[in-house]
Symmetry: C2
Subunit: 241 residues, 2 copies
């Protein structure tokens, strides 16, 4: 690769944009999508660094700090992509503050284990949702989105800690199972609000000349996949979905 | 460099340890030093992510989150080095929790600008101190320490924000100048406590057969350098030291 002339790498991305970017509604939808995910990442950073305070050991605290830093790195990648699209990343994110803050306000963990379950179940659900929506965008945008959804190290760590805690105290399993259901309900309610409020996102999911559409049957299937994956995550934690 | 046989990179670091590592007191001092800096980094992560909540804009919040993530990356580098020395990083850090937490408890910022001044002045002072102590250790350890002291992006951002705020409200300058003096006093008091409590660190600074010593005259000069650098940082912020 290093044999290629240096100039090959200097072509601006804007000179090579896919045809879809000629459609302002498509661009608006991509900007909305990247803005929503970016806001989600910075608010995940905030929430994880806040939850880190409840960590029972310095080691556990460092694990949450690592997850928070990973989310922040994803945030920076998404901001860089928005800047490539000549969009102020913070303007693109502004609209998504209220629904994300509402979600976090309604699902503030009462203790360390609720925080862990939220990190795992909440981020998993968000990742599933964005991965579904990413099917409707161009390949470059999709690649950036999928990269930002990579597991930030939650899974193995959270599964280990939550299963150990439930083994030590069975009543905890019942409480965390209820908590997982509440997270699912609040997440769906906010996601629905976001999509309904953003015309461009709705238009994206309605398809275009060269893009697939998400009809009611497909929405039903999407919902089924999201709930199935959620149940699998709850099972991995040893919790009834 | 890429022409070297791959095997050259696979030699364990422990096979090539400098002679100083044969002295258990030296090893204990290096472990203490790395442990202290590592604890400082994770507590800087915590403090910056906490202060990020006071940010007046999402952009400012992201700047503090970036600094926090940088501090966490330094923390991971220091932990990796401790692990190379066959030391549990969290055991090495344990002793340093109380002085760092005492410092942060006594210097909790009351608002966004106090947080910014603390990030700049406090981290600058800590970096100066560790850089001085790094002169007493082997080259590899020194390189790791200096890397972890690299500016996490504080300087330009904090100077810009604090100067703009003082320009808009001159009374703020007086309050922040007092705050800077308090930070200096609390930092020196905790640093003195750490060194006094740790025999190995004291021994390190007292020198060895093949290492320089820090005598009383040298300690006086060190103190002068620290206070001069502190005054320069305060001046950069537009504050009287």
């Amino acid at each position: 690769m290093s044999d290629e002339p240096a100039a090959a790498g200097t072509a601006r991305w804007s000179d090579q944009r896919p045809v879809a970017f000629a459609d302002p509604v498509y661009v608006a939808a991509v900007v909305d999508l990247l803005g929503a995910i970016a806001y989600g990442e910075i608010s995940a950073f905030e929430r994880l660094s806040e939850d880190a305070k409840m960590a029972p050991t310095l080691h556990d605290k460092a694990e949450l700090a690592r997850m928070a830093s990973t989310e922040f790195a994803h945030f920076e990648g998404l901001c860089a992509r928005l800047a490539e699209l000549d969009v102020d990343p913070f303007a693109a994110m502004a609209e998504f503050g209220p629904p994300f803050e509402a979600f976090h306000r309604r699902t503030t963990p009462a203790d360390w284990h609720e925080g862990l379950v939220k990190a795992y179940v909440g981020d998993g659900l968000a990742a599933d949702f964005y991965r579904e929506v990413a099917a409707f965008v161009d390949a470059d945008t999709r690649a950036i989105i999928l990269e930002s959804l990579a597991d930030a190290g939650q899974s193995a760590f959270v599964v280990d800690r939550v299963r150990a805690a439930i083994a030590a105290d069975h009543r905890l399993g019942g409480r965390l199972a209820l908590w997982g259901r509440r997270l699912m309900g609040e997440a769906l309610s906010q996601a629905q609000r976001v999509v309904a409020d953003r015309d461009a996102l709705t238009a994206l999911l309605s398809g275009g000349v060269d893009r697939p559409a998400l009809d009611l049957v497909a929405i039903g299937r999407l919902f089924t996949r999201l709930t199935e994956n959620h149940s699998q995550r709850m099972a991995a934690l040893g919790l009834a979905a």
